[in-house]
């Protein structure tokens, strides 16, 4: 091993050690979804909340509601229906999503949790702070529903019910709120979910930026489905479900500060139809991992997979679908589409021999018509994502420290 390789190995060791949170104040970088965000979560929240379900820090947790571990009255913990007012309707109160009627016959694999899941109740939550609230192709309401639906779908679950909590700034037009609610209703209908509980809070002018939404969701994972960022193996194929980066670039341009005009709309969409079709076409564990490429984009997702599964992910730049208008805008802004958020695209890793079947299944769905195999999984060097560039060279694709485009979801 030469000197450079020794240095590289030392760096890899340093990267694997748990990062320390050095800052005394939270900075914007901590919210960007990259390394700084992870450090904040690992340094502050994980030590306090630590449990096997949380530990993998996945998009959602898959819970095994065995008798004795389920909440006694069937109400979801912290069910959000106690504060009264706002959306806390009587109809929702006391009736936890799916309650005890859930089919939870099959135990969750491995007491130590791990992100891999084998049937159970998928549970997830996400907050939405996008600016502007309305953008071509959707608004914050679409994101709030689709984002949480997709987090459930990525667990392999069939999304069923959502909660919605609103933090609204004093002076916010009711008309806008109506518009957002209408959008959310439409998005829920399209995804086949219902919004069953919620909350509203109003804060003083200047204490929030218009409107923030938090949604949580539950859904059932069919037995036999076992997905996880740690379940990927050498020889697997890496698939992207459609052209990347459209949501992020759309929102960036919608802010109107760049004087770039482009015919582009957000890709926000519910992916549960697509995942259901894929899981059906490639049963019995042949789908290893699903991840929606939101904050941090495809690059961040691939890095999570490479790290969790201790494999190398090797991507071919030319195979990654990117629309010319997104490429052009990214080129002008000096950002890489691989890092730009999508709200309706996912990365699927499937067994190598199932790549064709997976691709066919995805392409048979309107949201997956432009799905493409973008790379493969190899053994060495573990933990790294490598890109064969269009130019014919090789480089690393790492996780960004901060988001190049803040507050896009």
């Amino acid at each position: 091993m030469n000197r450079e390789e020794l240095v590289l190995e030392r760096i890899e060791r340093a990267r694997r050690s748990r990062p320390r949170l050095r800052e005394e104040l939270v900075t914007l970088a901590h919210g960007a979804g990259g390394k700084a965000s992870r450090t904040l979560v690992e340094a502050v929240f994980l030590p306090s909340f630590r449990n096997p379900h949380l530990e993998p820090l996945a998009d959602g947790a898959v819970l095994d509601l065995h008798p004795g571990t389920a909440p006694p009255d069937g109400e979801a913990p912290d069910g959000g229906a106690q504060n009264g007012g706002g959306l806390d309707g009587e109809a929702a109160h006391g009736r936890a999503p799916d309650g005890v009627s859930l089919d939870v016959g099959e135990p969750v694999g491995g007491g130590a949790g791990g992100p891999a899941t084998t049937g159970g109740l998928a549970f997830t939550t996400d907050s939405y702070v996008v600016t502007p609230l309305f953008f071509p192709g959707g608004d914050i309401g679409d994101l709030a529903v689709n984002g949480t639906v997709n987090d459930l779908a990525m667990c392999g679950a069939r999304p069923a019910h959502l909660s919605a909590a609103f933090i609204i700034e004093e002076g916010f037009p009711v008309e806008h709120l109506r518009r957002i609610a209408t959008t959310m209703a439409g998005a829920a209908r399209a995804a086949g979910v219902t919004i069953v509980t919620g909350d509203t809070k109003v804060v003083q002018r200047g204490k929030a930026d218009g409107c923030y939404i938090t949604t949580a969701g539950v859904g059932m994972v069919p037995s036999g489905v076992r997905l996880g960022a740690d379940a990927v193996r050498p020889g697997d194929a890496v698939i992207v479900s459609g052209p990347i980066g459209e949501h992020g670039v759309t929102v960036m341009l919608a802010r109107g500060r760049l004087d770039i005009e482009a015919e582009l709309v957000s890709d926000t969409a519910p992916l549960n139809g697509l995942t259901a079709r894929l899981l059906e076409a490639c049963p019995d564990g042949r789908v290893r991992c699903l991840r929606d490429a939101t904050r941090g984009g495809v690059a961040t997702v691939l890095n999570e997979i490479a790290r969790s599964s201790e494999v190398a992910v090797i991507i071919t730049e030319e195979a990654v679908p990117v629309r010319p208008v997104v490429r052009g805008a990214c080129e002008l802004l000096g950002i890489d589409p691989l890092y730009v958020a999508c709200e309706g695209r996912m990365v699927a890793v499937v067994a190598g021999e199932s790549a064709d079947a997976a691709l066919a299944a995805l392409r048979s769905h309107p949201l997956g018509e432009e799905a493409a195999v973008v790379g493969r999984v190899a053994e060495d060097p573990p933990g790294l994502v490598l890109l064969k560039t269009g130019f014919g060279g090789t480089r690393i694709v790492d996780v960004l420290v901060g988001d190049p485009l803040p507050r896009i979801c």
Partner: protein, 375 residues
């Protein structure tokens, strides 16, 4: 995409690589410095080194505007930003640059109002929109960006926008190249000349490089084929025993530069007697400040700043990296104490910084990866 894809063509790259290999004398080690951080970024982003024979190494130069800002100036800028009623506007690259007491991101968390802009005109707009605030544009960059700063100041003057000022950190490229050529311990065979700067200053100012130092320089664009072509033309000069200024970037760079842009700089700015460069120390006549007649827009005259010289952290070897004496990974703290998350030196911050480029794109063993990517 037109005007981009044709400069990233793998077939042409292979053909050029074969010609490059053919020009290398067996056993000879060649070192070419790409002066500009934009080139460093291109080299790593496209994996260009895969095309170069073992005998050729590319040495990263000082042309990264963020990287050469000394810590003391960062502290001064943060001190201005922290004053009441001030909005500081700057390019995104500056946000994470560490000063003696944290970065702009930290200052923002403490309450400073710092806005990211894409152009100095955006900063002027902020000033127009916030007449009760004092808006300061933190100007950085070589002659490439100095004209737009100067233009903005002229516009502020003509519109009478009194709440706008500029904290000027513009530097000039030629003294930095001279400093590199005069620094001991560095043997270079030629230069890949900066493209963007040359759109303003043209190619003539480089004539001293072949003239006084006997080295070739090829001004190049920022697509990977541009850089590969510049390496090829450097080798060709060496093989033919020539040392000249050549312009590979003729599609953008006029031989005489942009006289109008130079005139605008000259109208608003003048040379400082000396300026500190990170890693290179004080260099005479190497930076620009506002002329007396634009004093009312000069943040250095409006605001009290500490103005202290802050020594780089002992462990940081940015200076050696900027001079091309050390490769990024040869720095003692590279990738362990100094990472893009917790940068100690500026080279690890900017996307044009050699350390950041190597860490983000090139941090792997080429031999092992060749094996892995073989299909």
């Amino acid at each position: 995409m037109r005007f981009v894809d044709e400069y990233r063509d793998a077939g042409m790259a292979r053909a050029l690589a074969a010609r490059i290999a053919g020009l290398c004398e067996p056993g000879r080690a060649y070192k070419f410095m790409e002066v500009c951080g934009g080139h460093t970024h291109t080299i790593y982003k496209h994996g260009l080194e895969d095309y170069l024979p073992e005998g050729i190494s590319l040495v990263h130069g000082p042309g990264c505007p963020v990287c050469v800002i000394p810590m003391g100036r960062v502290d001064d800028a943060i001190a201005i930003a922290a004053q009441p009623g001030v909005i500081m506007a700057t390019f995104g690259d500056m946000m994470r640059v560490p000063g003696g007491n944290g970065s702009f991101l930290d200052a923002m968390a403490r309450g400073a109002d710092v806005r990211m802009v894409y152009s100095p005109l955006d900063a002027l707009k902020i000033a127009r929109d916030n007449p009760d605030k004092r808006v300061v544009f933190l100007a950085i960059g070589f002659e490439t960006t100095a004209p737009s700063t100067a233009m903005t100041i002229m516009r502020a003057a003509s519109e009478g926008i009194a709440n706008f000022s500029v904290f000027c950190n513009h530097v000039t490229i030629i003294p930095a190249i001279k400093a590199i050529l005069d620094s001991p311990g560095l043997r270079l065979d030629g230069f890949i000349g900066p493209g963007h700067v040359s759109t303003v200053i043209g190619c003539r100012p480089y004539e001293f490089i072949p003239g006084e130092y006997g080295k070739p320089i090829v001004v190049a664009g920022f697509e990977p084929l541009d850089v590969l072509q510049a390496v090829h033309r450097n080798l060709l000069q060496l093989a033919e025993g020539r040392a000249e200024v050549e312009n590979e970037y003729g599609r953008v760079v006029p031989w005489n530069g942009n006289p109008k842009a130079l005139a605008v700089i000259n109208e608003v700015m003048e040379l400082r007697p000396h300026f500190e460069w990170r890693g290179l120390g004080f260099i005479s006549d190497s930076a620009l400040c506002l002329r007396e007649r634009y004093a009312e827009f000069d943040a250095e005259r409006i605001f009290q700043v500490p103005g202290a010289r802050v020594a780089d952290p002992k462990a940081c070897q940015c200076g050696e990296v900027l001079k091309g004496v050390l490769k990024p990974w040869e720095c003692k703290v590279f990738g362990t104490a100094c990472t893009p998350e917790t940068p100690i030196g500026t080279c690890m911050v900017s996307s044009e910084g050699a350390c950041a480029a190597y860490y983000n794109f090139g941090r792997f063993s080429r031999d092992r990866v060749k094996e892995a990517t073989r299909t």
